[in-house]
Symmetry: C2
Subunit: 258 residues, 2 copies
């Protein structure tokens, strides 16, 4: 229940480098992508072409790591618990700050995060389970310049069709948390072979298989940015480390569409 | 009731250079802003910072005037009835095509347009009148690089408070048509002195003054881009000519948020 500025201060001092899932309840979390200015127009257009996957919350000026809109003067070099540094598409470091990588030509994109959606589903008394699992799929981002990659999806299983309908309604209100699902029903439709064998998981396996009444809905996952960083092969690209997000000063409700 | 591709073809041949208000009913119209690549990242970020005013529908590759997303291979050099060309912030031409101004480094931004919203208000049986008048205000865009300027607002007067409430609900669903209003009630609140004395008008004066029961709602208007083009003073910037929009292949409903 700590306010975001307090949490960010602890992170900045190096006293917290863990996951952010339960940090600062009700405040919107954000993913981070940092690219050199030379590639920033392409990345901006890439996000515009793939708004469900990469909803843009804030873009900083080249060389300026401080936020203006989503948080009051947060330092994006230090205020996330963990980062990933890619060189020519290869993950070379997972530091807890990026001060030594910072350059005057870097542009930061803060991207909407799916995490907060679950609070709203619970508030709406929607019955479901989060698989805690992420899947590579047959869905591809619309490319722009060097940016391309397969979309990673997360799956939630809803107890009844009515729970799923309500989840579509509720998630549609939050385009900054990836908005409405991009698929429902059979995993085949998006090239997922088996919901019990995810490509990335954040919970202990095995996964309980879908029950006959459960309805699967699929949302874009931030992990897509890892595929994009690998494929783009920029000399330097920095992202948040999965599950280690930036905590904004905005509650998700401020970012709702209606 | 002509399909958009047919209308664009007539425009391309130079056989129509008039306003588009009543063209291709139900299809989303778009405003256009064209800037050299050197300024395109700043303009993209500018739009991201002012999403109510400049909702981005499509961004083209530098030097490529053809659309991919909003229309199948439309040519943005010829497919709008009329353009405005600004040099160093000064309006120098209002041509019916921009072939002679086209360069290999130009990037086109198609921006959501308010026009289509009225069809939805009428469909929802909302009682109101469009002032057909636009006002300079005390509201300013959040700047980025050379891009800045005062927000121009349009005003609609709703017969009852309930009509206004319904209009907020309906417009919220269409972020690509400027979404929800940015102000309601007294024009003073946004620096408008008198609703009967607009800065730009598309209908014959005089304007019937607001009646006591009417509720005023204010939406961002595309005319803001004229202020921005003047203030930015780029060596070259091209926009649509007010009321002479690009007709997309998308119905507004495809762009709704829920």
């Amino acid at each position: 229940m700590m306010p975001p500025a307090g949490f960010r201060s602890i992170v900045r001092q190096g006293a917290w480098s863990g996951q952010t899932e339960n940090a600062c309840r009700n405040y919107a979390q954000a993913n981070l992508a940092v690219v050199p200015k030379e590639y920033a127009l392409d990345f901006s257009t890439f996000c515009q072409r793939n708004p469900r996957t990469f909803p843009v919350m804030e873009v900083t000026e080249p060389g300026d790591p401080f936020t203006r809109k989503t948080a009051d003067n947060a330092d994006l070099r230090t205020d996330l618990p963990k980062y990933r540094v890619f060189q020519d598409g290869v993950l070379i470091d997972e530091p807890t700050d990026i001060k030594k990588y910072w350059r005057d030509d870097l542009v930061c994109f803060l991207l909407g995060c799916a995490l907060s959606m679950d609070w709203y589903f619970r508030s709406a008394n929607i019955k479901y389970r989060m698989l805690g699992a992420y899947f590579n799929t047959s869905v591809n981002c619309i490319p722009c310049g060097p940016f391309r990659g397969g979309v990673v999806l997360g799956c939630r299983l809803f107890e009844t069709a009515l729970d799923a309908v309500r989840a579509i309604q509720v998630s549609s209100r939050y385009p900054m948390a990836h908005g409405a699902p991009i698929h429902m029903g059979s995993p085949d439709g998006v090239g997922i072979k088996d919901l019990c064998h995810p490509d990335v998981t954040t919970v202990p396996l095995p996964i309980v298989p879908p029950k006959p009444n459960e309805v699967a809905l699929y949302w874009d996952a931030a992990a897509t940015v890892t595929n994009v960083a690998k494929e783009a092969r920029l000399p330097l690209m920095i992202t948040h480390c999965p599950a280690h997000m930036f905590i904004t000063d905005m509650v998700l409700e401020e970012l709702s569409s209606s």
